[in-house]
């Protein structure tokens, strides 16, 4: 600023620069480099893209499991992300109206977001979904038959999706803030023109918050693709690998047992490329559906 030495900003930015190089850039490049190697009879050898080829070969050690994990992760992401967006937007919409005790509701809805990612709650989720757990007790009140949640593929998937959707709090808070920033004058004008509440929501609210829908959607997409805790601890990937997501498999390959950091790196890169394809695709499509003011 006034009379400030030119080097000052660079010095203050130094921690970030080191952090970026050591914790982001270097591991990013190195994980690709590592994925080109393989441990063969105790020796680490350069194998080019062999690890990648093997992962898409059904008969290799990890091939079948890996292709299955892509499918499983895909199902998880495409159920979880839209559900979180819809639930959090609807709840935020109601909360954005004049509501008594809005702070109380907001806090209550945020609590699962704080606790739900904790291992203690993840483990208890298993008890909630087990055969005589809370969910089945609830079904039985209505005379419905209990369901073997953790014993069937779709049931196990439901339990881990439910755990994630239950934590819609932070997405909701971001929507809530965006909804409050929609100018009141737009609604007033629409009301005078006789537009109903539903058409106001579709024609004013939704378009005005499309940038935030884009932001929340991409953020949730990136973290859903990397889901780990739920499947690892609630379903252990089962039954019969129906919830063995990519991140679980990466952990299994690289850190538990086989310690194959090379195949693990190749898997990470494939996951990265998948996430990038979707992210870039969504950003490309945004010019058709995201409305930017000014």
């Amino acid at each position: 600023m006034v009379g400030e030495k030119k080097w000052v900003p660079y010095v203050l930015l130094l921690p970030w620069v080191i952090g970026f190089i050591v914790f982001k850039l270097y591991p990013f490049i190195n994980s690709f480099y590592m994925s080109l190697f393989k441990r063969i009879r105790g020796m680490v050898e350069f194998v080019g893209f062999q690890n990648y080829i093997d992962l898409f070969d059904k008969d290799s050690t990890w091939g079948e499991l890996f292709m299955n994990s892509i499918k499983v992760t895909g199902i998880y992401v495409f159920v979880t992300v839209p559900l979180i967006l819809i639930v959090s937007l609807l709840v935020a919409y109601i909360l954005s109206k004049k509501i008594k005790g809005v702070g109380l509701f907001r806090t209550a809805y945020y609590i699962p977001t704080v606790l739900g990612a904790n291992i203690a709650v993840v483990i208890l989720w298993r008890y909630i979904f087990q055969y005589n757990g809370l969910i089945n007790q609830f079904l039985m009140i209505f005379g419905l038959k209990p369901i073997s949640w953790l014993g069937t593929g779709w049931g196990a998937m439901t339990s881990i999706v439910a755990l994630r959707v239950w934590q819609f709090g932070s997405t909701m808070l971001i929507f809530l803030n965006a909804l409050k920033n929609v100018p009141e004058s737009l609604y007033e004008a629409a009301t005078i023109d006789g537009a109903s509440k539903t058409s106001q929501f579709v024609r004013i609210t939704l378009p005005m918050i499309t940038p935030i829908i884009l932001f929340n959607g991409v953020m949730r997409l990136v973290d859903s693709f990397q889901v780990f805790n739920g499947p690892q601890l609630i379903t252990q990937g089962g039954p019969s690998d129906s919830t063995r997501v990519i991140n679980m498999l990466i952990y299994q390959v690289a850190f538990s047992g086989s310690n194959d950091l090379y195949t693990g790196s190749a898997m990470s890169w494939i996951l990265f490329v998948i996430i990038m394809i979707f992210t870039v695709g969504i950003f490309r499509s945004s010019k058709y559906w995201v409305y930017y003011q000014d």
Binding site: I94, G103, L124, Q232, Y251, F255
Partner: protein, 300 residues
């Protein structure tokens, strides 16, 4: 229809709408909170809970009496759960503390100073928000386990033996925190700083005496979010875990199962103990975070 009737009809319609609104809100609240209440009830119940109702059927205190013991952790008798909590804090505290301030400093430079390459730095910060962490995990593990890096954390020292879990905090690696601060800085008019500069304040004085007091809500918010995610971290401790005695809460809790020494009540009680600090911290800082009616610190 007379006007009077029409007004009445309108009023009734409005009231029905209100009822529907609150029913939904309370219903959602129930789904959000009832599982937690049920868990609390289950921690006082002997055996598995066999009802939807959260009041225990066979009341027992056995789970809470044994809440601080973790049989099977390290030995049959096990270490105390307080040790697990302390182990967790040894990376949660430095991670929260350092990250809160290094990312603040980075955001300050990005919004209040001019320098060459600012646009590139900003682009990198935004791009790294979206970078999946999974891609860094394996090479960072390889990095920390090299002969050169190993002595820094493969030791018995408090805090330092968990270095791989919080070292990034010294270098502002959490792009999302930087981004949140940048958003907040932009909402503070620059006239404030300029007035202070006119009065002869230097950069640091402006940051500490002018900006930080205004930034308090966002500092609390970022700090709270960082605390929650560090405290809840499971995959990090799982990968870098050392001797059994150094296991943090997330690892100790993940091994909890019902067996001959551990009843359902034990599992539930210990799990609640495992999130107790989280609950306390959240409720003491949440007024900054979830915001009051007029404002919320999170900006999209």
């Amino acid at each position: 229809m007379t006007t009077n009737k029409r007004i009445q009809l309108h009023k009734r319609k409005k009231r029905i709408k209100e009822i529907v609104k609150y029913t939904i809100l309370v219903g959602v609240g129930f789904v959000m909170l009832y599982p937690l209440l049920w868990i609390v009830g289950a921690s006082f119940n002997d055996g598995p809970m066999a009802s939807f109702w959260f009041i225990p059927e066979n009341f027992t205190l056995v789970g809470w009496q044994g809440v601080l013991k973790a049989p099977g952790w390290g030995s049959i008798e096990g270490y105390s759960m307080l040790r697990a909590l302390w182990n967790t804090l040894q990376y949660t505290l430095p991670q929260t503390f350092f990250m809160t301030f290094t990312t603040l400093l980075t955001a300050f430079v990005m919004t209040r100073m001019t320098f060459k390459g600012k646009k590139i730095v900003f682009a990198i910060i935004i791009a790294t928000i979206l970078m999946p962490n999974t891609i860094f995990r394996i090479p960072m593990f390889a990095f920390w386990t090299t002969d050169f890096m190993l002595p820094f954390w493969d030791n018995e020292l408090p805090f330092l033996s968990y270095l791989p879990l919080w070292a990034g905090a010294l270098f502002a690696v959490n792009s999302f925190s930087v981004f949140m601060y940048i958003q907040f800085f932009r909402s503070i008019p620059k006239d404030l700083d300029e007035a202070a500069y006119m009065d002869g304040a230097n950069t640091f004085q402006v940051l500490i005496y002018v900006l930080i007091p205004i930034l308090k809500p966002i500092i609390m918010t970022v700090g709270l979010l960082l605390f929650i995610s560090a405290f809840n971290d499971y995959q990090g401790p799982l990968i870098y875990r050392g001797a059994t005695s150094t296991y943090p809460l997330s690892i100790v809790l993940s091994t909890l199962t019902v067996d001959s020494m551990t009843t359902y009540a034990h599992v539930y009680a210990k799990s609640i103990f495992g999130v107790l600090l989280l609950i306390i911290v959240f409720f003491s800082a949440q007024r900054y975070f979830v915001g009051n009616d007029s404002d919320s610190a999170i900006k999209g």
